[in-house]
């Protein structure tokens, strides 16, 4: 009963226009002070330890930073050129290339909105020029952009791993096949629509263009190899992988692509070579572009972590009041089996996804449902992927969805038009959700193959 009041209060405050983080934190504090013996000092401790005590969450600032360098440094346009060279000649080619580019960028970035902004801004404009409607372009990108959190690396997976103590590396591996599947399903849908509706088709520019654009994009795409190879090759932990990715992205942006930093030339002129300006190796660290990119990534990290830290206060309250045990006992005594349970999880997340930023929602819901899932014999990795796919769908369904906002901003069109345009592809993702939910092997096969069977040490 009290829990209901608590959650009503949180949602009410959010709808009132209180920042999400404050809605979570304020409600939890009031709840804790009224109902328990815990002190305000323990809230402050929880807040501080949200960062200082959660080593896994450190991956967030690093992946955000890597993504910022990649976006600033012009990797997106090179990835798009490569994608067009590869699949642009199919019916609906540019749209398929857009999805493919989103998949590639998703493999560099941990966030969906970042993927939409980086790829969408260029591809939507390009699609309109070649005769697609703006609506169709926006619908494609809004959906494909959600792959940002399914294809590793993924900030949402990091948060899930941190909340449930499963291995981040395992979660990343688990996202690979579902990510490829979802991307392929979207591309196939476009292909079929293109055949029916006679959508524009690019021309095949030959293998030369594929290789040339591939070599250009390769510097950015190497990051995938570095992240996954480094983690599974025993060079670094997933958290460290994020930091290495950030450093690599920085060097690529500043010294290879030179679209930022001391070697960058504004306008159409060619960027300088390092030979011409070797001092850049030093000055790059103090360059305004470097500071600005670090600052922008830092600011985004702050807003995300402010939500997560307050969500952790809520989690502390729920744990302190032993709510997960009560919910778990109620669900088990109601006789829910795994199938019914997963339906409930899907519904909770789809509704919650309307109000909450994905990482904040996950850190609250995961501890609630995780013990029940273990009890019902559901694989924790499988549960994690289900949650991630739910988050993806939450981002593109009305009334509220992160990717809807971002796409409507990037495409410069009203949100309801984006919703309508996104709908056919959202249906595809929904079918995909059902597949992922009820066919566990899609998620668990690769991590089991690479890392052995999951161990549950709790």
């Amino acid at each position: 009963m009290e829990v209901l009041i608590l959650f009503t209060m949180i949602v009410g405050l959010m709808l009132l226009g209180v920042p999400i983080a404050v809605s979570l934190g304020f409600s939890s504090i009031v709840f804790l002070l009224v109902l328990s013996d815990s002190s305000l000092a323990s809230i402050a401790q929880t807040f501080f330890q949200a960062m200082a005590g959660h080593y896994t969450l450190l991956a967030i600032p690093f992946f955000v930073l890597a993504s910022s360098f990649m976006s600033t440094g012009g990797v997106a346009k090179r990835i798009i050129r490569f994608s067009i060279a590869l699949v642009g000649h199919f019916p609906g080619g540019l749209a398929i290339a857009g999805v493919f580019a989103c998949m590639l960028f998703a493999a560099l970035s941990g966030s969906s909105p970042a993927t939409v902004v980086a790829i969408g801004s260029i591809v939507i404009a390009g699609m309109r020029e070649t005769g697609y409607t703006k609506e169709f372009a926006a619908g494609v990108i809004a959906n494909a952009g959600t792959l940002g959190i399914l294809i590793p690396p993924s900030i949402v997976m990091v948060v899930y791993a941190s909340a449930t103590d499963v291995s981040v590396g395992r979660m990343f591996l688990a996202g690979v096949i579902p990510g490829l599947m979802a991307g392929t399903m979207l591309m196939l849908t476009i292909y079929i629509m293109a055949r029916v509706k006679k959508l524009p088709q690019g021309e095949w520019r030959g293998w030369g263009e594929v290789f040339a654009s591939g070599r250009e994009a390769g510097w950015g795409l190497m990051l995938i190899v570095i992240i996954l190879g480094g983690i599974y090759g025993g060079i670094f932990t997933p958290t460290e992988a994020a930091a290495v990715a950030a450093v690599y992205a920085f060097f690529i942006a500043a010294f290879v692509y030179r679209d930022m930093g001391p070697l960058h030339v504004e306008g159409e002129g060619r960027n300088l070579s390092l030979m011409r300006k070797p001092l850049a190796l030093v000055t790059v660290f103090f360059h305004r572009d470097t500071r600005d990119t670090l600052f922008e990534a830092g600011k985004l990290t702050v807003t995300l972590m402010f939500i997560i830290a307050n969500a952790l206060i809520l989690k502390h309250v729920l744990t302190d009041e032993q709510i997960p045990q009560q919910i778990s006992a109620a669900m088990l005594s109601a006789g829910f089996g795994p199938i019914m349970f997963l339906v409930i999880v899907n519904v909770i997340l789809l509704i919650g996804g309307q109000f909450m930023e994905p990482s904040g929602l996950l850190i609250i819901v995961a501890p609630l449902v995780f013990p029940i899932a273990i009890e019902l014999g559901i694989d924790p990795i499988h549960l994690g992927i289900i949650m991630v796919v739910n988050m993806e769908i939450g981002m593109i369904t009305p009334p509220v969805g992160l990717n809807l906002f971002v796409t409507s901003g990037v495409a410069n069109m009203p949100m309801m038009n984006v919703v309508k345009a996104a709908l056919p592809f959202t249906v595809v993702l929904f079918i995909f959700l059902l597949m992922v939910t009820y066919i566990p092997v899609i998620s668990t096969w690769l991590p089991t193959l690479m890392m052995g069977p999951e161990i549950i040490t709790r």
């Binding site: 402050a44 960062m51 450190l58 600011k299 830290a309 410069n412």
Partner: protein, 226 residues
Amino acid sequence: MSHGVQSHSALGRIVNELEETAIAIILGLMTLITFINVVLRYGFNTGIIWGLEAVTFLFAWLVLFGMSYAVKVTAHLGVDAVVNLFSLPKRRVLALVAAVICVVYGALLMKGAWDYWAPFAGLDATTGRWFPTGFADSRDQAWYETVDIPMPDWLRFIEPIMNEGETYGKLPRFIPYFMLPFGMALLLFRFIQAGVRVFTGQATALIVSHEAEDDIEAVKHMNAES
């Protein structure tokens, strides 16, 4: 690069520059230390033993310091779908209510942060459950050290003041923990400022609806209707 309130005074611009640069430096340091430790471990079988702990503290600093800045430039995320259904005057009232809640939230956390930090600094926590009613006689915890971070020699002058003259083997906890009350004080201050801005009509909301608003501004022109 941010699109929040632009400061008109020279002092405002300096403060803004300082805040942004501090955020950039903290994140840069975190990345660098982590990266160097990977290189040292993989390449040289060694490592900076305090690196991990230092990075987690810097992470806490980044957020604790940055959250007040994000209030200043209205970067915190919120849900504006419902609020936007109302007329502007009604929206202002809602924003005022929201601001009051934020200020109370800031005040509660400020008390919590002080109560948590004070014993580590050999000071007294406050009494009272919701709001401070006086000072408690807190047990001194200034001896409490971090796990790995060495105590720099130039700081040893604090030992007679803080640690009954005993030497610190590691950096005492009250130093990294100081960012907690400091950050909360800044947060409270910025929330009050934001409330005043809403009250005087300079602002209509405390939130943005998604994290990529700045980035969208930057690329919006690419799809503008011609």
